[in-house]
C-alpha cells in the first residue's frame, strides 16, 4: 500500500510506487513523474476562519429576493396565499359564468346541417 504525502490540507497518495509501475505491462513515465511531484502549497494560518467569516457576512446581509423568499416561504403564509387565490378564482367564476347559448341558437344548431356547431350534436 502506497503511503500518502501531506502538505498543508492537500494529501497525495500515488496509485502505485515507481518501482511497482516499472513492473506493469505498460509502464508509463507520467506515473513516475506524478508520483515524484509534490505541490508546494501553503495555506495561510487563518484560512478556515476567513472562509467562515465570509459565509457569515453573506448570511447576515441577504438580498431582497432572499428576504422576500424567506418571508413568503413560511408554511402558514403559503397556505393563506393559496387559499386566497382559490377563493378569488371561485368568486370570479361565480360572478362571470360561461356565456349560455341562447335557446334560439340552440334550436338553429339542432336543425341546420350547415351550422358550425351542428356536427358535434350527432356524435355519441
Amino acid at each position: 500500500m502506497a503511503r500518502g504525502n501531506t502538505i498543508g490540507l492537500v494529501t497525495y497518495r500515488p496509485k502505485t510506487t515507481p518501482a511497482a509501475a516499472m513492473h506493469d505491462n505498460n509502464p508509463d513515465h507520467l506515473d513516475d513523474l506524478l508520483a515524484e511531484w509534490q505541490p508546494q502549497v501553503e495555506t495561510p494560518p487563518d484560512f478556515r476562519r476567513e472562509v467562515w467569516r465570509r459565509i457569515a457576512v453573506e448570511s447576515i446581509n441577504p438580498g431582497l429576493i432572499e428576504r422576500f423568499s424567506w418571508w413568503l416561504m413560511q408554511p402558514k403564509r403559503e397556505i393563506a396565499i393559496m387559499t386566497a387565490a382559490v377563493v378569488l378564482a371561485v368568486v370570479w367564476g361565480v360572478t362571470h359564468p360561461p356565456k349560455a347559448t341562447s335557446p334560439h341558437d340552440a334550436y338553429l344548431t339542432s336543425i341546420s346541417p350547415f351550422d358550425v356547431n351542428h356536427h358535434s350534436l350527432g356524435r355519441p
Partner: protein, 158 residues
C-alpha cells in the same frame, strides 16, 4: 433550491390551483340541458304551441334528427377529402371536381330536407306564427349554406 426558483415554483403552483378552481366553478355553472331539448322547449314558448301541437312538433323533430345525423355523416365524409391542402396533393382536377359535385349534391339534399322540415313544423303552428317561424329560420339556413360553400371554395383555392 435557489430563492428565485422557490418563488417561481410557488407562483406556478398557486396559478395552477386557481385555474383548476376557476374551471370547475365555471363548468358546474354551465347549462346542462342538451341543445336539442333546449331548442324544442324554446320553440313551444316562442311560437305559442299548445300541448297537442308541441307533441306533433316533437315527433317531427325526433324523426328529422335521425335523418339529420345520417345526412351530417354524409356531408362530413364528402367534405373531408376537399378540406385541407395536404389532402389535395396528388389529386387530378377531374377527381377533385367529381368530389366537389358529390359534396354539393349531398348539401343540396340536406338543405332541401331541412327546409322541408321547417315547413312541416310551420304547418303545425297558427298561420301567423308559422309565417314568422319560416321568416326567422329559412333565411338563416340559406345564409349558412352559402357560408359553408364559401369555406369549401376558400379551402380549394389554397
Amino acid at each position: 433550491m435557489t430563492p428565485v426558483r422557490k418563488i417561481i415554483g410557488f407562483t406556478l403552483l398557486t396559478a395552477l390551483l386557481a385555474s383548476v378552481a376557476l374551471w370547475i366553478t365555471r363548468e358546474s355553472l354551465r347549462p346542462q340541458e342538451p341543445p336539442r331539448e333546449m331548442g324544442l322547449s324554446w320553440l313551444k314558448e316562442e311560437y305559442n304551441l299548445d300541448d297537442a301541437a308541441f307533441e306533433s312538433v316533437s315527433a317531427l323533430h325526433k324523426d328529422y334528427f335521425k335523418r339529420c345525423d345520417k345526412m351530417c355523416r354524409q356531408i362530413n365524409e364528402a367534405d373531408r377529402p376537399l378540406l385541407g391542402r395536404i389532402r389535395q396533393r396528388g389529386r387530378t382536377t377531374g377527381e377533385r371536381d367529381a368530389q366537389l359535385s358529390r359534396e354539393q349534391a349531398i348539401c343540396a339534399d340536406c338543405e332541401k330536407a331541412a327546409a322541408e322540415h321547417l315547413r312541416q313544423v310551420a304547418e303545425l303552428m297558427s298561420q301567423e306564427e308559422g309565417k314568422r317561424f319560416l321568416n326567422d329560420f329559412l333565411p338563416i339556413l340559406n345564409e349558412q349554406r352559402r357560408e359553408h360553400d364559401r369555406r369549401l371554395s376558400s379551402s380549394l383555392r389554397r
